[in-house]
Each structure stands twice: as C-alpha cells, then as structure tokens.
C-alpha cells in the first residue's frame, strides 16, 4: 500500500487524516472519543509489540500503562505545586520512562520463558500490582485515584490546554510519533529478531541471538510505549485510578489487539478504534453491549484468527489481480441476509432483555431507532422469523461465496507469478 504514494505516503495521509478529523467530527463528545481512541491506539500497538511481534501473550499489560499514568499524574501535580518547569507535551515521555523502568524490572525475570509460563507470570504480576494499588494509598490514591490539573504547566505555543481540542492535537501528535516509532522499531534488528524469536526461538538462538534478550527488548519497548499511553491518559482525564492497571484493562487491550488483528501493524489500530467506538457509542444505546463485545471476540478468535485486518488483507491478492469485482455480487448475496440475520438476532436479544428487566407497563423496547412492543407475540414471531430466514439464506449463499473466492484467488494458470 505505501508503494502507491512513495515510502512516506501512507504516513502523510495519516497525518492529514489526524489533522482534519476534528473538523469533520467537531462536537465535543467526538473529540473526547477521538482522544480516547488515540490513547487506545498507542496502548494496543504497544501490546502488539509483544503479542503480535514477539509472540508473548500477556495478561498484565495494564501494569505499565497504569504505572506510566500514575507517575505522569504525580509529575503533573509537582508541576502545579512545586512549579517544575516541564511543558505538558513532555509528560507522556516521562510516563514512558516509568513504564520502561518497570518493564526492565519485571521483564528481567518474566521474559526468561515464553508461552504459558510468560502468560501466567504476567497474570500474577498484574494481579499483584492491582492489589498493591489498593493497599498503597499514598501513591495510588486508593479507589478514588490520583487527580491532577494539566493546565498548570508552562504554556506551549501560547496554549495552556484548557480546551479539549488543544488536547486533541497534542494527543494526535504524540500518537503519530509513537506509532511511527513503533513501526520503525519493527524494522530494526531488535524488531526483526522479535519476529524471528516468535516464529522459532530455537533457530534464533543458533543464529547468535539470545531469545531471552530479544524478548526482553521487545518487552521493554512495549512497556515504554504503554507508559506513553498512560501519560496521554493522564493528560486527557487528569485522573488515574486502580482500574487503569487491573486485569480488566489488560483484558481490554488484548481484545483490541486480537479483534483488530495481531498479525498486522495496523491491526491494533483498527481494533482500538472499533472497540473505543463500541465502548463509548454502543454502550449508550444498549446495556447488552458487553455481551455483543464478548460474542464478537469469541467469534473472531474462532473464525477470523487474523482479525478484522486479516479479513481485509485476505483480499489483497484478488485486488492486485483486479478481481475484486468478481466477489462483489456473492458478497452482496450472502452479506445482506447475514446482516438481516444479525439484526434479527440482536432484536431477539434486546426484546428478551427488555421483557425480563423493564419496568411493568413499559412494554416498548427501543433499538435500531425503532420502538417494539415486547409483549406482543407477533413482534417476537417477526424477529425470530427474520433471524431464521436471514440465517438460512446466508447459509444457502455461502457455497457461492466460497466458489467465487476460490475463483478470484486462483492464480494457477498464471504459473509461478505469485
């Protein structure tokens, strides 16, 4: 893809997109959501440096995110109270350094092994730090956390970051730089060997690399960028709490990376954007959103292990061959009923939930910009029928899709030109 616009083309496009986003989505709430996305993007990318690039499955990545954030917020308070002359844009970097410091300490023993042992250690460390965060109130502020005020530092280019939009541009710049650095890291010897160790640790040893050392370096880099994300969080929310470093946050970042696709650099970005939207927008529309996220996640792990990005990238060869058009029709034939089935399924779930939980007399559930009487059997019949018909039609259409797919990706007559 970068080839279309030269080596830096894709980055230039990204920078422009970042710059114009708040012009298109200018409401305060969308700026807030975009800030949240930026934080998630850096966090998820840093996570994928371990999972996708280095083959290390961690259940405790929030530790570095949270600690980076807590230190940032404390520094913020020092800026306010003791007048430390640190401009705000440097704060995430400070968070990163603390993330790095803790990654060095914890990585020194946890990266000895990969696989299940690593996962278990990360879980143990995560639980430990999360528990400590409630015990050590002076540093972590107990369950109410530690707050700060970002506007107390020396002004940068005349801005004091009073407005959300100023924070957006600060976040955008840092997200851009951090993403670029993480991408570049993957192209360094240390980054390439992280891939090698992921694929085959033994072989890596026999070309002169200590697998432990390679993992340790990815781990530290990952901790550094997680700390940066934590620092961004501190700037955006001006508060850090226990939940920023507990298992739930660690689980979320795994979800983001995995649903987005851990095999691709942009995978976690896709995942971060999508899950932030689900978390902020979908959750305002349905209380079942966590159920949907859970379903999405389990289905992704089962059927699309390469994630949503993988799903898109699968079409690369066909697109290059100009055969994407062949797929359009079968996709429509299977896709529309699939959407109908999904809509029907969601309707059933929402109606069921409403039926079970709504106040008496409130018979009308609201979803899909509709109002549905859940005490009317006819509506139930319709919803179930739509689901069933949609599912059946999809099922009938799948062979067609499979066939078209095989045809579009059949390069056999072109010989060795792969």
């Amino acid at each position: 893809m970068p080839a279309l616009l030269g080596p830096f083309g894709i980055w230039i496009v990204c920078a422009i997109v970042l710059a114009v986003m708040p012009v298109i989505f200018s409401s305060p709430v969308s700026v807030t959501i975009m800030n949240q996305m930026g934080i998630s993007i850096v966090f998820a990318l840093s996570y994928n440096m371990m999972l996708g690039q280095g083959g290390m499955l961690s259940f405790g990545h929030a530790v570095y995110f949270g600690l980076g954030g807590f230190f940032s917020v404390h520094v913020m308070n020092y800026i306010e109270v003791d007048g430390w002359p640190i401009p705000l844009p440097f704060l995430p970097f400070i968070g990163g350094l603390f993330g790095l410091a803790f990654a060095i300490i914890i990585g020194s023993f946890s990266t000895r092994r990969a696989g299940t042992v690593f996962a278990m250690i990360s879980l143990g460390v995560g639980e430990l730090i999360a528990a400590c965060s409630i015990i050590f109130v002076v540093f972590f502020g107990g369950e109410e956390g530690v707050s700060g005020d970002r506007t107390m530092g020396p002004p940068v280019f005349g801005t004091e970051f009073l407005k959300e939009i100023e924070v957006y541009y600060l976040t955008a710049v840092i997200v851009f730089v951090a993403a670029a650095l993480m991408y570049l890291f993957s192209l360094t010897p240390a980054g390439r060997m992280a891939n090698a160790v992921r694929d085959n640790p033994e072989r890596a040893e026999f070309v002169g690399y200590s697998q432990r050392q390679v993992r340790f370096m990815s781990f530290c880099a990952s901790g550094f960028f997680a700390g940066i994300a934590g620092g961004l969080f501190a700037i955006n929310y001006e508060i850090l709490t226990e939940e920023n470093l507990n298992l739930t946050t660690s689980g979320w970042v795994l979800l983001m990376a995995y649903i987005g696709g851990i095999g691709f650099f942009i995978g976690p970005i896709v995942g971060a954007v999508l899950l932030t939207l689900l978390q902020t927008v979908l959750s305002n529309h349905t209380e079942l959103w966590l159920l949907y996220v859970g379903l999405l996640f389990v289905l992704t792990v089962m059927y699309v292990p390469s994630g949503l990005t993988g799903l898109m990238m699968m079409h690369g060869p066909a697109m290059k061959a100009g055969r994407l058009g062949q797929l359009a029709k079968p996709y429509m034939i299977a896709g529309i009923p699939l959407l109908v089935a999904l809509a029907g399924g969601v309707a059933v779930l929402e109606m069921l939930n409403h039926y079970n939980n709504a106040p008496v007399g409130d018979n009308v559930a609201h979803f899909f910009w509709m109002a549905v009487d859940t005490h009317n059997p006819a509506n139930w019949a319709v919803a179930l029928a739509v689901t069933a018909i949609g599912a059946y039609t999809t099922y009938r259409a799948t062979p067609q899709v499979r066939e078209a797919w095989a045809e579009a990706n059949d390069f056999s007559e072109k010989g060795g030109d792969r």
């Binding site: 807030t32 508060i239 939940e243 009308v364």
Partner: protein, 416 residues
C-alpha cells in the same frame, strides 16, 4: 417477504410509541444526566437508582405540571460502568448535549473524580456551568476538604451516619466490645476512623477488639474473618461493607454463631435482605436516612406506585425523592434553570421531605442535614419490605438532624 412485514409492524408500533411518549421529547425539557453504573457488576444498584429518579421526576414533577411554567424534568441515563474514566467521558457527553445538571451516587471514587472535573470545567468554561447533585456518595471529604460550590450532597455522609450509629451504641450498656471491619479503601477507612473517633468520645470504656480492613471485592469466603470476630468476643460489629462483601460478611458472622448486632451502612436491598432472611432478624442493623417502617402515608403511596412499575426493584435510595423535589423547588425559587442561580437557591434551603421531616441544605459545605435512622432487619411490623422477601427495615431509633453540630473544613468559594 418477512423483512417488509417486520418493517411494517415495527413502524406501526413506533408510531404508537411516539404518540405515547411524545411529550417528554419537548425541546425545553430540563435534562438531568444520571451518571451511574447501568452495566457490569454494580448495575443493580445503578438501575434501581435510575428507576427511582425516573419515577420521582415523573410523579412528583412532571405529572404536577413541571417547573418554571411547564418545563419537564427528563432523566438522561448515562452508563459510567462505575469507572471514573467512563464517568468523565459521560460528563463530557452531557456537556456537549447542553446538560447542566448531573446526578450521581454510586462510589465515592467516581464522585471525587466528577466533582473535581466539574470544578475544573466550570472554572475553564464559565458560560457553560454544571451542577453536581450527589445522592449517595458519602465520603466525608466531598463536603470537607474537597468541597466546591457546584457539589451538593443529599445523603448523610459517613461521619454523620457514624455519629448517629454510635449514639445508639453508646446508649446500650451491654455493649462492651466492638469489632470494626470494612473494605480496604477510602470509604472503609473513613468509616473505621469515624467509629474509633466517636466511640472513643462517647463511650471510652468500650474496647475496640478489632479494627480490620479486608480487600474490596476480592474475598471469596468471609469465614476466617467471622472466626476472628467470634473469638474476639465482640458484642457488636460495625461495617461499611456493601454489595457482595456485605452479604458474605453478614452470612459468615451469623453462621459462626456470633450473637451480636451488626451495624451496617448498606446491609439491605439488592438481594442482601433476601439472602439474610431469617438469619438476619434482629442482627442486621442499617443506619440511613430512609424511614421505611413505619412509613409515612405519602411515602407508602409513593412506594406502592413505584413497585407497581418496578416489581423487582426496591426504592432503596429514597433520598433521590428529596433530590428531585429540592431541585424543582430551587428552580421555582430562582425562577430560572441557570445553574448559578439554582445553586444559590439550593444553598441553605429548608424543606420537608416525603416522611414529613425537616431537612436543611447546609450552605457552608452543601451537606444536607436530616434525620438519620437506625433500623433493624426483621419481618415483624413490616409494611414496606425489601427484595419482596417479607423482610424489611424497621426503625428502632431516630437521630434528629444528625450531624448538625459536626464541623466542616470546607472553605466554600462562590462564583463572584
């Protein structure tokens, strides 16, 4: 095809519904953002709070013609998943939707984050100010060192409740040994500190045989704690526990054969009463502002109406009623919905609540001063029960204007 049919049916119902609820979508509604957990482990409490607000706003304000000449209250539910971060996102959402009134109650951590963020916001955006009506977060700091002009608390804070509770303990000469146990976080610690302070002042002869904090939400089995309590020989137990930690602790204590009253802040409703059932009778005591049994006629009627709509829910945070009534009254008094004017009207307001008792919003710290009851878990003389279990809270003792004399460290800064 099925789709078309469905669309038709749904459109029909949609039209029907729109005509039904159309009134509440009017443009000049006074919108109140309800920021509390509506998903996740604490959703039960959040949900019943939301239902109470809805019902109170509907029956006490809207059905009576609204405020300011016909403007309706509209409660906008916003799920914060009990997370401070999510709360701030929802706060920003509320701001961008032009909402000026925020209500919240579950978790002092969230309340601290919100009051801090609202204070900052109001300072940074003087043309778009927000008022924070706190109906349940009881961390004393909110009306002391962390107080600000925009925050009003409609519940008795942890210190006030403890003051009332220790009054009762002090009168009971049979109590010689007290065991304090709570969750290991700011609220639990505040409860413990208050208990030590007040008991020490009122009954120095009482021995505090245990003062223990356990990790919040992480204890699977409270039996070891119960064993300790039993072997300490305590005559009374004080705890600020809530949720699953309350159920677990209470059950374990009762099962270990501890025959002592358990004084709690939140030992009822949300499945807790039903779980204790017979075992909790005359053991569990709850200190709160609610006066369930015997109820005032007005409250009983209100509760019956509420239960008709929400048979599975309880009116477990009755202070919400007062919150809505006082907000409406303040708006009428101010003659506008401008936040500064309304806040000024709320300050120092006197009001008679649904139980027919006087309450007062103290101007110096925006802490409500009201009667606080010590109630006991029982199935005798219960008119308003909890969890539909037949068990409920019977008022044993009432402390009038609890906390009126408690000092505050608040230095209120009013907008000039």
């Amino acid at each position: 095809m099925g789709i078309i049919k469905k669309v038709r049916t749904l459109t029909a119902t949609a039209l029907l519904a729109a005509s039904f609820t159309g009134a509440s979508f009017a443009a000049d509604n006074i919108r109140i953002a309800f920021i509390d957990p509506l998903s996740g482990p604490f959703a039960t409490t959040g949900e019943s709070g939301y239902r109470t607000f809805e019902y109170a706003a509907q029956t006490l304000v809207n059905d009576k013609g609204g405020v300011l000449g016909g403007r309706m209250f509209e409660i906008v539910p916003m799920d914060n998943k009990i997370s401070p971060k999510e709360s701030l996102i929802q706060l920003k959402r509320a701001i961008s939707e032009g909402i000026h009134y925020i209500v919240q109650g579950n978790s002092s951590g969230v309340a601290n984050a919100l009051t801090d963020a609202i204070n900052k916001h109001n300072r940074r955006n003087p043309d778009q100010r927000i008022i924070f009506l706190n109906y349940s977060a009881v961390d004393p700091a909110l009306t002391n060192e962390k107080c600000n002009f925009w925050h009003f608390r409609f519940d008795a804070n942890a210190d006030i409740k403890m003051d009332a509770l220790t009054d009762v303990i002090a009168e009971d000469q049979d109590i010689k040994k007290v065991y304090i146990i709570g969750q290991d976080y700011s609220f639990g610690k505040a409860v413990a500190a208050a208990a030590v302070k007040f008991i020490g002042a009122k009954r120095p002869d009482i021995e505090i045989v245990g003062n223990e904090l356990h990790p919040i939400g992480k204890v699977k089995d409270f039996t070891p704690y119960a064993t300790k309590i039993k072997s300490s020989g305590a005559d009374a137990v004080i705890t600020g526990n809530w949720g699953a930690d309350m159920v677990g602790l209470g059950k374990a204590i009762v099962e270990a054969g501890v025959d002592a009253p358990i004084f709690t802040y939140y030992g009822a409703h949300d499945g807790i009463t039903a779980t204790f059932a017979d075992k909790g009778v005359d053991v569990i005591r709850v200190v709160h502002e609610g006066t369930f049994n015997p109820p005032s006629a007005e409250f009983k009627a209100f509760n019956e109406g509420f239960k008709k709509v929400n048979p599975d829910k309880d009116l477990n945070q009755p202070r919400i009623i007062g919150t809505i009534q006082m907000l409406a009254k303040a708006m009428e008094a101010a003659g506008t919905d401008d936040p500064v004017a309304v806040a000024t009207a709320l300050e120092g307001m006197d009001f008679t609540n649904i139980y027919g008792r006087k309450v007062h919003m103290r101007a110096s710290d925006h802490q409500i001063i009201q009667d606080v009851n010590i109630t006991v878990h029982t199935d005798k003389n219960i008119e308003v029960d909890a969890d539909n279990s037949g068990y409920g809270l019977l008022t044993e003792k009432t402390v009038k204007e609890a906390g009126k004399d408690l000092p505050t460290s608040c230095e209120m800064k009013r907008p000039s």
